[in-house]
Subunit: 610 residues, 2 copies
């Protein structure tokens, strides 16, 4: 236990640090740090067990800063703990590791990008759930702001953490009453917060957030409780400096040089006390079982949906690799991720209808060593796009699987159809987008995603399709498949997923009219080897018809258009360019102009033009 007086001294020093850092940077959020100085002091110098010399020590407790704009006080705490050796006054500069909001690419202690609010509790939930599943005893902490408690994702996480009985999870809410432009809805009605958090089955501790003793007591109560705990810390924004204390208009505003000097007159300036940070118990990294992977394969001519092949491959991979985890949003019987449950129910996490929490929780699980495949309808993944965006900025390694892509789902109608998912996943840095058209390629996409180190997206299809590849076929990332390659090609037909099969039908129709079509399967939409593709099309007629079960914007056609911008290939794209209706699969493909007939017509136009 660290003396209260020492912890109070550290709070003073942290306040001085964050003021100096942000004044030097000329921007940043000092007052949002000053409200939680005592919380950080107790957390980093008394409560958390961690080895300041080793960010990757498996025994370290986990910390997530949900209110990412308070990054300076995290950096300052790490600095004073001797965990980092950075120039604090380099904050927010281009060559600094101390970015404006936390970024894992810059600092080893930061494991998740935060700064889009309301996401940290979900990530922490994933980390705490990992500890339960791995039977490890690190504790997970997260600090939230009060403004972000308006984000719905917070309640998704509250429900899940409660459902999974995560008594190893402690959230602190820095209730400083003031948001960016004024007072929060709840203000300092601490009992309103208490009622809310309690109603989700959490242990709620309301305290004075500037009393180190009350903070210590609350953490003690947290460890004694068999529920996840929230510490509702009543605080004052800008605490410690009369100019800013409890005043509006100071969100995201640094003090100027003169104001800083005045503040330093007011703030105590003690020596940094000697503190012994509680060391973690020695722990091993989680070890996972590894057996030979033996995945089901399919014979050419068999018929099955790629979502079924996905479910099979996931189950087979999980059987051999115990770090594989399926996380699904209450639709596992549709996405087929439920197949994993048959032999390995422990490798399935039900996340219910709460896609935002699902993605961030998956990210938390992946940080703790799991290889997560997380799935729902491709349409509903857009619900969590901000979380996916932040996970990509974190360079998280998770695989997202979107089923029920495109109009080919049929009768359920437009709200259930993923028609912009390719655009959304392409527009992330370092993402990879895979779109299998048959059982064997779907299996191979799961292999590609396994231990890829990337954020991967696999798009699957609801209706059954014929297996067109042999069991041994390889599907390297970045490449494409020549499905049909006649000797004298008049036109190249490119498709992906369901439209590969439409293109194959179009090919037969064209052949009956004396036109020879090559067929290309764009099974990997991103990255894409445009050099090989361009060479292939140029040496096979130079004419290209692309069809996709997706909106035109950001889809396969636009990707190819960009990749081929320096070529002279004549290209035409067919995509879904209307709001689709309910209807049968085949009639919808036709109605939306991406079916065999439309492909044939466009191909004939191209061929006859020349």
């Amino acid at each position: 236990m660290t003396d209260n007086s020492k912890l109070e001294s550290i709070s003073d020093l942290l306040r001085r640090d964050v003021i100096e850092m942000t004044t030097e940077a000329g921007s940043g959020h000092p007052t949002s740090c000053m409200s939680c100085a005592e919380v950080f002091s107790v957390l980093f110098f008394d409560e958390m067990n961690y080895d300041p010399g080793d960010a990757s020590n498996p025994g370290n407790d986990e910390f997530v800063l949900s209110k990412g704009h308070s990054a300076p006080i995290w950096y300052a705490s790490l600095d004073r703990a001797g965990a980092i050796d950075e120039e604090l006054d380099s904050l927010r500069k281009l060559d600094s590791h101390l970015q404006g909001h936390p970024m894992p690419i810059s600092l080893e202690w930061v494991e998740e990008a935060t700064g889009s609010l309301g996401q940290g509790l979900s990530i922490a939930t994933g980390e705490a759930l990992a500890a339960k599943k791995q039977d490890r005893d690190y504790h997970t902490y997260t600090v939230l702001g009060d403004s972000e408690v308006s984000e719905g994702q917070v309640y998704e996480a509250l429900e899940l953490a409660s459902y999974y009985d995560l008594d190893n999870l402690t959230a602190v809410v820095d209730v400083n009453r003031l948001g960016q432009r004024g007072e929060t809805i709840v203000g300092h009605h601490m009992n309103w917060y208490r009622d809310r958090f309690s109603s989700f089955g959490w242990n709620a501790e309301v305290i004075d957030g500037h009393s180190v003793q009350e903070i210590k007591n609350a953490f003690e109560n947290s460890h004694a409780s068999d529920r996840p705990t929230v510490i509702l810390a009543e605080t004052v924004k800008g605490k410690g400096v009369s100019l800013t204390e409890g005043e509006q208009g100071w969100h995201g505003v640094p003090l100027d040089e003169g104001e800083m000097q005045d503040a330093f007159e007011e703030l105590p300036d003690p020596e940094m006390p000697e503190v012994r940070i509680p060391q973690p118990e020695e722990q091993e990294k989680p070890s996972f079982q590894e057996k030979k992977v033996d995945m089901r394969t399919y014979e050419q001519g068999e018929v099955l949906a790629t979502r079924d092949a996905y479910g099979n491959a996931l189950a087979d991979l999980a059987e051999a690799r115990s770090e594989v985890l399926a996380v699904d949003g209450e639709v596992s019987n549709s996405t087929r991720s439920e197949y994993i449950k048959e032999d390995n129910p422990d490798q399935f996490v039900e996340s219910f209808i709460a896609e935002q929490n699902m993605i961030s929780m998956a990210q938390g699980l992946s940080i703790k060593g799991y290889e997560v495949f997380t799935s729902t309808f491709s349409a509903f993944i857009s619900r969590a796009h901000d979380q996916i965006r932040m996970a990509a900025l974190s360079e998280a390694e998770i695989t997202v699987v979107g089923s029920h892509a495109g109009v080919s789902i049929g009768q359920d109608g437009a709200s259930q159809m993923g028609l912009s998912d390719i655009a959304l996943f392409r527009a992330l840095r370092e993402s990879r987008v895979m779109y299998p058209c048959d059982g064997n390629s779907a299996r191979k996409m799961v292999e590609n995603a396994h231990k890829s180190g990337n954020m991967d997206y696999i798009r699957t299809t609801r209706p059954e399709t014929e297996v067109i590849y042999g069991p041994e076929e390889e599907f390297p990332i970045g490449e494409f498949k020549k499905v049909e390659e006649p000797e004298d090609t008049d036109v190249v037909l490119a498709g992906a997923g369901i439209t590969v099969h439409e293109a194959l039908e179009a090919r037969e129709m064209l052949e009956r009219e004396g036109v020879q079509a090559a067929i290309v399967d764009i099974y990997c939409v991103k990255p894409f080897n445009s050099y090989n593709f361009r060479r292939f099309v140029e040496s096979n007629s130079g004419k290209l018809v692309v069809s996709e079960d997706h909106y035109p914007e950001g889809g396969i056609g636009e990707m190819l258009g960009k990749e081929l911008e320096e070529s002279n290939i004549e290209m035409r794209t067919l995509a879904v360019d209307k709001i689709p209706h309910s209807g049968g699969k085949q009639e919808l493909l036709e109605n939306c102009g991406v079916d065999r007939k439309a492909i044939k017509k466009q191909a004939l136009n191209l061929v006859e033009d020349s």
Copy 2:
């Protein structure tokens, strides 16, 4: 008041209807309808005031079906009320108005597409808030499923509806215990729900959802309460048929022909009773004040941020048009939507940090006649992409304004930078994407968005830029601006927003090297007049350098690449192709390769190649 016995008869008939409709369609969700048959019977034949002969009667109470998969029982209720004249057994067919999930394009009574869960309460909140603001006395009702209560957006709406004291809003949760693949987290613990909803300041009524009397009483209590009310109706999924009643495995599964016949043996088959549906009081449509619009203009050479010009234009428009409403996510001092508050505080709605609810609530307000401009950082709009997707499927007329676009925001870092927003907004049907580069064009974009009938997106920039257009300049939708048009053009430089100014600087640098560059401003990214653009570039060197403060995928370069796919224009695109860092504006533009130097270099490459 309609007799209980009549209402019970109608419940029986509705159950028969939905079974028949879904069996005929071969798909759909009969059991999710059967659990709320009594709720629909009381709502549509006793509780709600509406004119079955006139869906657009301004006195009608409002109804939102949040659990969109229960569409068949809504259709059946409207049919039995004489409000629609459709073939019920056409459900889910391509030529039917009765789509699988509710779609406004098909049926006048449907005002919002639902089927992505957890959104209806927010839309209803917007409609109820509109009634308060317009001092009108229609009541707003919505029916939710219990599975969707896991969606965080529900809590965002609970908080807002409570904050705005919406006692004219009644939500019914059909707590039938069973989700798609199993039991919900809460199951039938009705008091858990009661605690949760109460903790947000709602009046919560727990009832037997199959007792028409209890349903009636709950609605009566709802009207007596000065709080928004939730009726927590304990129900049984598949109620009324022994095969399905309370049984798992029946979600989204229709009965087959034989099962339907067996069900019909069990279900009573009364005559449709005569019912007098409570008629609405005569009400006028909301009338809004209309004055001459007088917007602030700027002189060439002035310097201001487009977000400031946006705020000014919004305030000026609101002064003249009382139907204009700003809805902002707690960042109005950054987006500048707060300028509206100065003279017209009633035309501002604070929606706090809850972007999902913000978008759906904005949609609800727009349904009731408001012209809504809803704003937050462009990065955070992605938080609500599913809601935007559904609003677009509803053909909602709202304008979304994203500030702080691109790396030019500077020090705050990647999490705060909108770098995929253009891709996201392009990939919607009927959307329009506008991106002004100076004060006068920003003002004109607000004029363009005014009464446009579309979902519009306006992207604004944080730093100040020079006004390059005169006050009288017009900016028609779909067109582009020739900013500089030298006599002998060596290369065309196209930019948008901040990169127009980088292109202008590049032009001067090129001129010093004897290279003449034309400058084009892509102020309207979607729709885009490719014919005029192509003609312009082709007749001005045929060489094009595009730079954008956005990721490459789905951005302006890909859009142009697609539009120009049939041309021989040599085109090179500069876009942000890495995870950006914190830093200064200009150094980040340079670091990410979209600044004047990069443009100049690429232009020289193109010119020298030829």
